[in-house]
């Protein structure tokens, strides 16, 4: 790599491209409308926060969020019905954003998940009244020191952090772009757009504020570290290919790009491509919580406010797997003989470690965190398939898994004692005797996590393992099934604990939620059962949406 340097000044002075006639970029607003609606609602939420008096903010924020997300979902359905998911799929916004099947499917999933999560964010009947006012699960004022006079004053004044709704919407907007990003710049910016609001949301719990702040610090420092790694990988990929567009890089990797002297220089050095590609993949694996980049997950899931944990566990995974799929299938398919063995190792480690460590957990939220790590491993098995079946099974699994997770965490918010949520597993003993309905719903979610037939978990696991086996990854499937069995052990253990052990005296009570949380749990359970009993329609839908545009 020596010496060929292009001068930027001479290209600018080239008469073929006069400076005073720069063409305006062409933006397809209609095709980007789902994302634009969500960001518009988020900006509106910020204005509500600035202009409305405190007492009317809650209703206004909830209305803006729900209407915005519902409108975005309608826009996604309209685009898909218009054929953008199949025949008319193309790349919008000057090559920055892909509008194709996987993107629309994942965006639809994310928006629906966010809509249900917004209900759990808005729940105000679980905590006891604070000075005669209903409060939600977020801090009265995030900036106050826990236990200080200032905090007591904020609680007395009945403050609530309604900023969580715009933060949620900004995160959703970023997550929607993330799996649709079609160049590395959009990938990086959307990663940050959805991560930064999540860091803040983690720090805003009303109870156990020290834990919550600790989880936010951990998530922030590790998240920033991982995105710096991703960014350096992006820089190296750009250095290798001389372009940041996915299609352009794929052309260079495949050797079909038009060679320039500079490109001949940089592509002579495969180190740039291999190191760059692996650093980008590391950044994405961090977000999906794959072993060995999973260390943050249990702490962040445990410390964050439970509605946020539910949203984060469901939606982040969908968005990050979408981006990982697009990167591996569109940019680096030419390298699949290099990345597949590595991903094999990561998938096996993730499945085994997630399932085995979960057995030792004593806290419900940590248990669900390790279970989400194990599930990341199962989904990776589908990613490794490198086939249309692999894509569609991953899409289906993500949709099924996200609603189970959301429902399970919504149930966790209900079981409470004087100190807030009672998350220690020993406190859940005998819950089935005292509140059979809540325990039964939680049991449904646990069975779905375990992959028992007639739940969405079974349909998802079956699809993923089938795709992996067809692609020749039989050992991986065997290890996956064994770790599913290990995982089933601890899910069943919780069910046994709930139904077949004596309730403790002074154990936690189950709060009676408002229709908001009831809706969230009902939607979660309904999706779990429908996708489990009649998965074919949704498998077909995912199958039709499984082709990436390039």
């Amino acid at each position: 790599m020596t010496g060929v340097i292009h001068s930027l000044w001479t290209t600018a002075a080239d008469p073929a491209l006069p400076l005073d006639r720069i063409p305006t970029p062409k933006i397809e607003y209609a095709q980007l409308s789902p994302v634009l609606i969500v960001f518009g609602a988020a900006v509106l939420g910020v204005l509500v926060e600035a202009l409305l008096p405190r007492r009317s903010r809650y209703i206004a924020q909830l209305g803006v969020s729900v209407v915005g997300l519902a409108a975005a979902f309608a826009a996604i359905v309209a685009l898909a019905a218009d054929g953008y998911a199949s025949t008319k799929s193309h790349i919008a916004a000057m090559g920055a954003v892909a509008v194709d099947g996987p993107a629309l499917f994942l965006q639809g999933t994310i928006v629906l998940v966010a809509l249900v999560a917004a209900f759990t964010f808005a729940e105000r009947r679980l905590d006891p009244l604070a000075h005669g006012r209903r409060v939600d699960s977020f801090a009265a004022q995030g900036s106050t020191v826990p236990g200080s006079e200032q905090e007591k004053r904020a609680v007395r004044a009945g403050f609530t952090t309604t900023e969580v709704f715009p933060l949620l919407l900004f995160a959703v907007g970023g997550m929607m772009i993330f799996p649709a990003a079609n160049d590395l710049l959009t990938l990086f910016v959307s990663l940050e757009v959805f991560s930064l609001p999540l860091y803040l949301l983690c720090a805003l719990a009303r109870r156990h504020r020290l834990l919550s702040q600790e989880s936010a610090v951990k998530y922030f420092l590790l998240g920033a570290f991982s995105s710096a790694i991703l960014l350096f990988g992006v820089a190296l990929l750009y250095g290798y290919a001389g372009t940041i567009s996915y299609g352009g890089i794929a052309d260079v990797v495949n050797g079909t790009a038009r060679m320039t002297p500079a490109l001949a220089n940089t592509t002579a050095n495969d180190a740039l491509l291999l190191i760059g590609g692996s650093m980008v993949v590391v950044g994405l694996l961090f977000k999906v919580a794959a072993v060995p980049f999973h260390m943050w997950t249990p702490d962040v899931y445990q410390g964050a406010p439970t509605p946020v944990t539910g949203f984060m566990a469901a939606a982040t995974k969908v968005a990050a797997f979408g981006a990982l799929l697009r990167l591996l299938y569109v940019v680096l398919p030419g390298l699949r003989w290099d990345w597949r063995p590595v991903m094999w190792g990561v998938a096996i480690a993730t499945m085994v470690i997630g399932a085995v460590v979960a057995v030792t957990q004593t806290d419900v939220k940590r248990l669900l965190a390790y279970s989400s790590i194990a599930h990341a491993g199962f989904i990776l098995a589908g990613v490794i398939a490198v086939s249309p079946d692999g894509v569609s099974s991953v899409l289906f699994y993500l949709a099924a898994y996200s609603f189970v997770t959301l429902g399970a965490f919504a149930v966790v918010t209900l079981v409470r004692d004087a100190g807030g949520e009672a998350t220690h597993l020993s406190r859940w003993a005998g819950l089935g005797r005292r509140s059979p309905l809540v325990a039964a719903v939680f049991a449904v979610f646990l069975l779905a996590f375990a992959g028992i037939p007639l739940t969405s978990g079974f349909a998802g696991k079956f699809a993923v393992f089938k795709a992996a086996a067809q692609a020749g990854a039989v050992p991986l499937v065997i290890i996956g099934v064994i770790s599913s069995a290990v995982a089933a052990f601890f899910y069943i253990r919780v069910i046994v604990l709930m139904f077949f052990s004596e309730p403790q005296p002074g154990g936690p009570s189950v709060a009676v939620p408002s229709p908001l949380t009831i809706t969230a749990i009902t939607v979660g359970a309904a999706v779990t059962l429908v996708l489990g009993v009649a998965p074919q329609y949704f498998l077909d839908l995912a199958g039709k949406a499984s082709v990436f545009v390039r």
Binding site: I5, H6, L200, L221, F232, V234
Partner: protein, 99 residues
């Protein structure tokens, strides 16, 4: 001067930043090391833009700066609230959730 030297410098800065994140115990310093890593990326972007003779890398560097600024806003807010409730910004003290 051969632009490849800037790449070596950038890799060196990135490594210093990464080592700092792993070794230093003060959350603010850890965060500064992350910023150093982002700046190392910027140097790499600009150098590659020069090598390839296109502007993508330079534009990317601008976006990185904006993102880094946003990250500072969020990060300092989180670290300052953490510091105020514990009177310490050491990441070793953040161990309430250890098993």
């Amino acid at each position: 001067m051969n632009p490849i030297n800037y790449l070596y410098l950038s890799a060196l800065l990135f490594t210093i930043g990464g080592a700092g994140v792993l070794i230093r115990r003060n959350a603010i310093i850890v965060f500064m090391c992350v910023e150093l890593m982002l700046n190392a990326c910027n140097l790499a972007f600009v150098t590659f833009a020069r090598l390839h003779g296109n502007l993508d890398g330079q534009i990317f560097a601008f976006f990185t700066m904006v993102v880094a600024a946003a990250e500072v806003v969020v990060g300092l807010a989180i670290i300052v609230t953490f510091f105020r409730s514990r009177h310490s910004a050491s990441v070793d003290d953040a161990s309430l959730m250890k098993l």
